[in-house]
Amino acid sequence: MTLFGLTWDYLTTASSWTGDGALLDRLVEQLLLTVTALGLALVVALPLALWLGHLGRGGFVAVNVSNMGRAIPTFALLAVLVTADWPGPAYFGPYGRAGLATLIALGLFALPPLVTNAYTAVREVPADVLEAADGMGMSGAQRFWRVELPLALPLVLSGVRLALVQVWATATIAALVAGPGVGAIIVSGFARNHYSEGIGAALVVAVVALLLEIAAASAQRIVRAPVGRRP
């Protein structure tokens, strides 16, 4: 039987989906990791980046954070976290083996797109608009909430979308350090020469990635609509 046939068999067998550590279990685990990490990163990054953008300071931080995030391999950071005494490979509640290490890595890799986009978004609000706001006698806070934030929102959201893609990818890679997520099935499939399992799980990861991207793009379109007057 061909590899495609075996993969199809694997994906259409109920026991591949249900049961301990099967596809559904792992999928829920990975979605939980993604949502938690993205939420934490949003809470940390957005207030800071938006505030710096409002003040117009710390631009070099935004750019350098982004460049460093690209140069450090996700896999290497995960490996360091798992090999260290803390957080190490311990189980962490519903997040599975090496759950804490994975959450930290996911959160860190979500920061660059969030920080860079939010900062740039506020900085790119046209100067004449800001002058008009000042001329109308708006206070700094008013200017931020009524002018800068609404105008910056589309670009902030595209940062969130990038972060989501990044977090989902990193959550998959966590399996390379025996971590949680659907990636664990990919890695174990390849390690045991059960390629059809690895390829089947990879297909699931890819499809969910595309669905997340489509959902994020639609959410972005909905939010953008009222502010759509910008060129």
Binding site: F75, V187, F190, I199, A201, A202, V205, A206, A209
Partner: protein
Amino acid sequence: MTLVAATTEPSCYSAFVNEWWCAQYVEDRHADIIAATTEHLRITVAAVLLGLVLAFPLALLARRFPRLESTVLGVSTGLYTIPSLALFPLLVPFTGLSATTVVIGLAVYALTILVRGLLDGLRSVPEEVVESAVGLGYGSTRLLLKVQLPLALPVLVASLRVATVSTVALTTVGTLVSYGGLGDLISHAVQRNFRAELVTAAVLCVVIALVLDVALVVLQRLLTPWTRSTGRATR
């Protein structure tokens, strides 16, 4: 009578000490390290070059037929969202457990960044420059090669830097099919809890990324001497 005692200290990379940084490890295993670094560089360079070669016709096609632009960008962005650990297995039925699988997978990611860079770069060429070239009798090929591409270079190189740096990092994931360059060392280090090997491989990854990044900046400065006089740093 003296007891037979261990005459030498355990080396800093023995399992009892397991230090994060160990020069002795680098010295003892330099052959492995060099082999992994070479493989890493080969895969990275091959993937970025393949991405660049594929990006050109796609970008030119998107420019010639504007309706295709959203399709080209949409498909490449879709592929970009697929995690590398999932993309490599999907290529395995076609290319097997080989370096080719890793190179093609990474080229797909580089392609997405480079097509955008090319399109943005060509768009940044001032309209009046194109018009005067046409007025001077430049045909479309000569216009592209002699005027548009050189002027698009700064934006193109910026995207090439992003693509290269992220490809260096992503190559490590190729360890899934046993062709991950330094990623193979990281993988081995995690399995054996071998800290010195892990840190050495990770540091080398970052160093390769930085060196290639600087090399591209230098290349751009050599290729576009006219941008220097503006005194503005090119990002």
